[in-house]
Symmetry: C2
Subunit: 161 residues, 2 copies
């Protein structure tokens, strides 16, 4: 395959990403969850992966403004044709490096319980699932966490110095 | 009317707010645009207005991490029965005070062109509309700005020292 470059996100990346995001998520309606503000105001902790000028992956993250030791990944996706090549891991590691350099020691994110691929990915790269009362198919799930009845799996990972 | 108190937002405010938000916006589906992360990680710049223990308004904002002089208001709403009493203005002024104290001099936000009440409110409290090529009913509109074809009116306001 062609080389893939990872760089900081820019506002001009928004339209190309928002126009493919529902497809990358297998038809789920994801685009309302990704307003443009993240591409304007959180560029230092957001990244785009490009191959031959085409966006093939992205990660949108920020530094918690309430918890000075925490960083958060809001959204990350990889083009279906570019999966299983380590690109998701590379995007997360870029984020971990930046967060660590800015003094953050914990990274958090959430995913939907239906997204088994995402759950497996986060476990593989070292995230733990937060305990909760409700267990679905062996996995702790925070019920009714996001939106109207949106259950979520809550992940956290400690960054090593 | 009963007294209204304004305090910082907390994670426990999320469910009460997300369960009324579509109603407060006249039935528009807004809830996907307000993930819980804002109630966890941006509490210092987010506020809830309460009357007799009931939430009657809220404002969700953050400090730009890309532009050190800017702050951004992502979402703000007031219960329909508590409008036209200055509560929206009071929430924005709380945000302006916090942003100013944290060294920010510009506040930005966006709204949908269909939301004439929101446009009038922002003009009334001193926001300006950013110029753009497209003008709809006399108002500059950024075409295809957010999501799939979501036009937006872009506002900015300078905070006086």
């Amino acid at each position: 395959m062609e080389a893939v470059d990872i760089r900081h996100a820019e506002p001009s990346d928004y339209q190309p990403i928002i126009s493919v995001i529902n497809d990358w998520w297998g038809g789920r309606n994801m685009s309302d969850m990704l307003p443009k503000l993240f591409f304007n105001h959180f560029r230092e902790t957001s990244f785009v992966a490009e191959s031959s000028g085409k966006i093939v992956g992205f990660l949108i993250g920020f530094l918690s403004q309430t918890f000075q030791d925490e960083a958060y990944i809001h959204f990350a996706g990889v083009h279906p044709d570019y999966r299983k090549m380590g690109l998701g891991r590379a995007l997360y590691e870029r984020f971990f490096d930046v967060a660590r350099n800015l003094g953050r020691t914990v990274v958090r994110c959430v995913t939907s319980p239906v997204n088994k691929g995402s759950i497996a990915f986060h476990l593989r790269i070292g995230f733990s699932i937060e305990r909760s009362e409700t267990i679905v198919e062996g996995i702790c799930v925070a019920k009714n966490y996001d939106g109207h009845g949106g259950d979520r799996v809550l992940f956290s990972k400690t960054l090593n110095a």
